[in-house]
């Protein structure tokens, strides 16, 4: 990322007139970096499944410019996100916030992992005691197999 910034910086400083979309790229590399990070989190509203960072749509461009304007005005990252959400709704966030309606989405992986682990634990525990089984002689094992088959 640092190299990207250096590259951007070089391009901007040496050939200012040639820089792409001068209204978009910010002169401050740190701000531009934050803008890129935020753009990756925001959905292009008219695209299928693209962030505004990836999209070439007009609307995505407007949103990118908006994000940069807010950042240049001194907004924090979360303030920018809040502002964009207030204008476009939750739909604009590619990573939805934790709320009543997304709690299942966020909790599911953790919950499944825990439930799965408990299920395995219980399953292993309720099976015949390991030590007893280990103490069986091969003849006894064979006899059990035979009984089980019946």
């Amino acid at each position: 990322m640092r190299r990207l910034l250096i590259a951007l910086f070089l391009v901007l400083s040496v050939l200012p007139a040639l820089a792409v979309n001068p209204d978009e790229v910010l002169s401050d590399p740190a701000l531009e970096q934050r803008a890129r990070n935020l753009s990756g989190q925001l959905r292009c509203m008219v695209c299928q499944n693209q962030s505004i960072d990836d999209s070439s749509a007009e609307l995505a461009r407007d949103l990118r410019v908006l994000v940069r304007e807010r950042l240049a005005n001194g907004d924090s990252d979360s303030q920018v996100i809040d502002y964009v959400v207030s204008r476009y709704g939750e739909f604009v966030l590619l990573k939805p916030r934790l709320s009543a309606k997304t709690v299942v989405l966020w909790a599911a992986p953790i919950l499944l992992l825990v439930v799965g682990a408990i299920a395995i634990f219980v399953f292993v525990r309720t099976r015949p005691n390991q030590r007893t089984v280990a103490a069986l002689t091969p003849e006894e094992q064979a006899r059990i197999e035979e009984l089980l088959k019946k």
Binding site: M1, A7, L18, A19, E90, V92, A108, L113, G116
Partner: protein, 662 residues
């Protein structure tokens, strides 16, 4: 006329499949050899009929018969011949035909190579395959018929979607479907086992090659699709967590889990019920993927609501098969006997951990993909679940799995020695960390955490080597004896090591390309120069060119390093004449495993043009790793144990005479 015969062949296939859905099952119940043998001939008949039908459609495309509606909609007389062929499956109806063709192809494979299966199991498996065939034949004939005619016939076609006019499309769907639909065999085996109420280690041995084959093709299909998206879509991304991608990724994750749990079942007779459940779930996810992609429900819930025939039809197929299989499972699974015991720290235990994580990862992708749809349907509220969500949740889940992978093969069955495995691996772990550091140093910059990501990739690679190293016992017996020992090992051991190595390579590529890649966006005029990834690109100007069915503007760039010109790149913007649709064709230059990716944007006032240049260090590792995994799959598939298959069947003279009579 050929088209009509093709249509008719499809109807005949449906009739045959209907018969095949019932008679072999009754035969298996009654022990009626003749009825069971019907399954084999019937399956081959269906395959020939569907293959003929598919051939008829392909013929219509090859000769550009625009009186066939499907051809008119998706082809053009000037299109290169290869795209006329691949265009057959570049649309909804044709891709369902390909789905069906591959389904009956797999049924035919079971019919031919399943000679050593018990007769009743084989009959049941083929009958279940026939049920699926009936469902999809009905779907094609009733809602997605590719053989409908147009009258009067138009003089020229509407052309194939330009994005699909690519070699990638010729290869990607067949590979993907070979994987996707290949899991149907596992599903049929699971359902057949439930019908019979009997399942043993031999069952797992019969199922494993099919799982392995399907998994291998699916790996190739997904990797191919990812690379295709990477170079065709023109913004340098290679995985977007798009619902369509997720649809193919979920069966892959579940299939990977199945591959590992079937191993436990085959070797130790444990995890029987779980393996059967996984086999059902994997193909259910394949069908769910088909529903998601084919019903249009992903584009928007409303688009689905306005023309729901196809969607509802597949939804019914889904409900019947998945619901039916689960009901059968709930009813029959308790009859299956539990198998071998094992301690938590053991090979089995490691494979259970693998299954736990992979299953939760599958569920996470599934929930993330469906959540917006379900929420909108229930409450009308719209939310998005995109790449940032999946990267976070899926990434966190994969972390422990990737760390654990090298331990698995080093643990013994039944009761393993974790401390021993640690002692054997710590040197390899140190090496991995060192390699990560060295890589980081060479890349010269980037976040410090990157070292651990890189080391994780190397850990996967070195762990696979460690597995072979200790199996050959190289440290004690020396190189010569070690290699002789390795030569004596079954091929599946190498398959495992190769596939795990490939996984490490992919992880390395992912971290390297995302953490060390650079992006440069500039407006360039002719003779302007830009630096990217240690190379300088000089823009030489634009040139007009005309292709068979498109016109293009090609930008020429000279790439130089240290003032010396070393290569040329052309990056172009095409306009496909029939659909007036523009596409970008990225210029990609490969240096070793790294790539320079040049994509053209909009022309600016004053003769300049926007150029986007990405430097992607070691990005080829991502797909190279997948290819290595695939190679691992094939090596494992060539294992003698799987080739020869099941234990030798007792001689059955009845069957022999039947075959002679045929």
């Amino acid at each position: 006329m050929i088209v009509e015969i093709g249509h008719y062949a499809l109807v005949l296939a449906l009739a045959t499949a209907l018969i095949l859905s019932i008679l072999p099952v009754i035969g298996a119940r009654r022990g009626d050899m003749a009825m069971m043998a019907l399954a084999t001939t019937g399956t081959l008949t269906i395959f020939l009929l569907v293959a003929f039908s598919f051939g008829a459609l392909t013929w219509a495309y090859a000769v550009s018969d625009f009186s066939v509606r499907n051809v008119w909609e998706n082809s053009h007389s000037l299109m290169p011949l290869i795209y006329k062929y691949s265009g057959v499956w570049g649309n909804h109806e044709g891709s369902m035909m390909l789905w069906l063709l591959i389904l009956v192809f797999f049924s035919a494979l079971v019919a031919v190579f399943g000679r050593n299966l018990p007769d009743s199991l084989k009959a049941n498996v083929l009958a279940v395959q026939a049920w699926i065939t009936v469902a999809f034949l009905l779907f094609i004939l009733l809602t997605s018929n590719p053989f409908l005619r147009l009258d009067p016939a138009p003089a020229e076609g509407q052309d194939l979607n330009p994005v699909l006019q690519d070699f990638g499309l010729a290869v990607h769907p067949p590979l993907l479907y070979l994987g996707y639909v290949g899991f149907s065999v596992c599903f049929s085996f699971a359902v057949a086992a439930l019908i019979e109420g009997r399942i043993d280690a031999a069952w797992a041995r019969w199922v494993r090659p099919w799982t392995l084959g399907a998994w291998t093709f699916l790996t190739a299909g997904i990797a191919m699709g990812s690379y295709w998206a990477y170079y065709e879509l023109g913004w340098g991304g290679w995985w977007f967590w798009d619902p369509v991608e997720n649809a193919s990724f979920m069966p892959w994750l579940a299939g990977t889990a199945l591959l590992h749990s079937a191993l436990v079942m085959e070797k130790r007779e444990a995890l029987k019920i779980w393996t059967v459940l996984l086999a059902i779930m994997t193909f259910s996810l394949s069908m769910l993927g088909t529903f998601l992609v084919r019903s249009g429900v992903l584009t928007s819930v409303h688009a689905f609501a306005t023309d729901p025939t196809r969607g509802i039809f597949i939804l019914c197929i889904l409900a019947i098969f998945i619901g039916g299989a689960f009901i059968l499972f709930a009813w029959r699974a308790p009859m299956l006997k539990a198998g071998g015991l094992f301690a938590p720290i053991s090979r089995e235990g490691a494979l259970v951990l693998n299954n736990l994580i992979l299953t939760v990862a599958t569920a996470t992708v599934l929930i993330g993909t469906l959540y917006p749809l379900i929420l909108e349907t229930l409450t009308g509220e719209k939310i998005s679940v995109g790449a940032p969500f999946f990267n976070m949740t899926f990434g966190l889940l994969m972390l422990p799995l990737l760390i654990a992978v090298p331990f698995g093969p080093l643990l013994a069955w039944k009761r393993g020695d974790l401390l021993g495995a640690l002692q054997r691996l710590y040197l390899f772990a140190a090496l991995a960390l060192l390699a990560g550091l060295a890589f980081y140093y060479v890349q010269n910059g980037g976040p410090v955490m990157a070292i651990f990501g890189l080391a994780l990739g190397f850990w996967g690679m070195f762990g696979a080597i460690a597995d072979l190293w200790y199996r050959g016992n190289f440290s004690k017996v020396g190189l010569a004896v070690g290699f002789r020992r390795l030569a004596g090992l079954p091929r599946s051991v190498f398959g495992t090591a190769i596939a795990h190595f490939g996984l490490g390579v992919t992880v390395l590529g992912i971290f390297s390309a995302t953490l060390f890649g650079t992006e440069t966006v500039v407006e360039m005029k002719p003779r302007a120069t830009v630096d990217a990834g240690g190379y300088s690109l000089t823009f030489d100007g634009m040139r007009e060119a005309v292709g068979p069915n498109f016109t293009e503007e090609r930008g020429h760039f000279t790439v130089s390093r240290g003032g010396v010109a070393i290569a040329d790149v052309w990056s172009s913007k095409r306009l496909y004449t029939a659909r007036r649709m523009p596409t970008t064709e990225a210029g990609i230059l490969t240096f070793g495993l790294s790539q320079l990716y040049v994509s053209l944007g909009d022309p600016m006032e004053g003769g300049g043009i926007v150029v986007r240049i990405w430097w992607k260090p070691f990005i080829l590792c991502i797909w190279g790793g997948a290819l290595i995994m695939m190679a691992g799959g094939f090596v494992s598939l060539s294992d003698r144990r799987l080739r020869v298959g099941a234990p030798s069947r007792k001689a059955k003279p009845v069957k022999a005479t039947l075959e002679a009579a045929e």
